[in-house]
Amino acid sequence: MQSNTSILKKIPPTPLSKPAKGAMGKTGTWRTLKPVIDLNKCTKCGLCWLYCPEATITFTKEEGPKIDYVYCKGCGICAEECPAKAIEMVREF
């Protein structure tokens, strides 16, 4: 029998997880190439937002796309699909 302050009293009887960013940690550390947006070239079409598998790109019509580098894994899809060639993959290390 454990005391009332035991950690075992505070966890659910079966593992329940809550939706949160970073369920696999700060996945930006996986990256070797970093997408960098040239907002001068960007036409604000939103395709990078559309195709980002991870929802790490947020987008508004006014400000265009913004990348969350804490989690961006650097897959390069955004740069590949950008019709204006406004995203460059830059080596990080």
Partner: protein, 400 residues
Amino acid sequence: MSKIIITTGNYSAAYAAKAAKVDVVAAYPITPQTSIIEKISEFIERGEMKAEYIRVESEHSAMAACIGASVAGARAFTATSAHGLTLMHEMLHWASATRAPIVMAVVNRAMGPPWNIWSDHVDSLSQRDTGWMQFYAESNQEIFDTIIQAYRVAEDPEVKMPAMICSDAFILSHTSQPLEVLSEEEVEDFLPPYEPPFDITDVDHPVTHGNIVWPEPRGDASVGYMEFRYLMHQALLNAKRKIKEVTKEFEKKFGRNHGDLIEKYKVDDAEVAIVSMGALAAQAKYVVDLMREEGYRVGAIKLRVFRPFPDEEIREVAKRLKALVVADRNISYGYKGISATEIESALYQLEKRPIILNFIMGIGGRDVKPEDQRKMIEAAFNIIETGQLEKEAEWYGLVR
């Protein structure tokens, strides 16, 4: 109001599911269980029972569906036998680790090959380590009463673990006996409304159940996999206490007590006791009465609950005995009877242990008559006199 009818063990299970007002039934036919789900289908199609019945395409799916229903807020029921139960094996682990308080009627049947549909306890005993509570009933009334009691124990906040209620193929499943059917109102008084271990349909508070848990505490996880397994173990230990409480309360309310973890019969002054599971436990009491008239100091123990195992309870009785006859309708190939090994392990703690005679008997439905049980008991008295135990486990009635 309750009513008394004459009916089979299988129909008794069906009446119990109805009385417990289960919300979802998911089941697949298999002899000798089938008439349980046939009767439930009849209740539902007649509009006498308000439950969703999922006519699944396998027992594996039956248990998966019960798990889904259970965490979506429904009291779930299923029934199976032998190959159906062993096909479910993976899902039995899944159910207990989900902490889904599903109740299942198991009609014990031999495993093939060769095909054999008669009673044998290997099917359910092979599920020993799945985290399910296991009850073994000796009569149709006990099947009914235990299903009701099992829901109460399984759904208890301190337990939240599934339970199977086992009964012998044909000996009970297809044999009619008098049965007092408690009304839904009476049962409702005893069994509070179902509360799921968590509600997977609560979209305002979404949770993910069962994604990866690391071996060690890691990141913001304060515990690892092992701690969740400990909680399951503790829940079954809590169930020991709950089963005692619930059987007492049931007796107070309905006037019947089939024993809690074990049932003791005339063991107080006995030198020898015979341990049985299921229907043979009823016959053992009859044999004890006959032998007592002849002056034998003999008693009987019914192993009513196999998990959680009644180790203390058996020790308490066994320490006063000279010999214990353990009659197993099962075999663990390469060793001995399954309940005998469990009992021996429990008694190891005692300073003065009784001699244990293990009989492997009744396999694949082979008949075990009162005179057979009597011979087993007589053998124990002989050994007490001679002090010579030749074989730890004897295949009783084997043609050689």
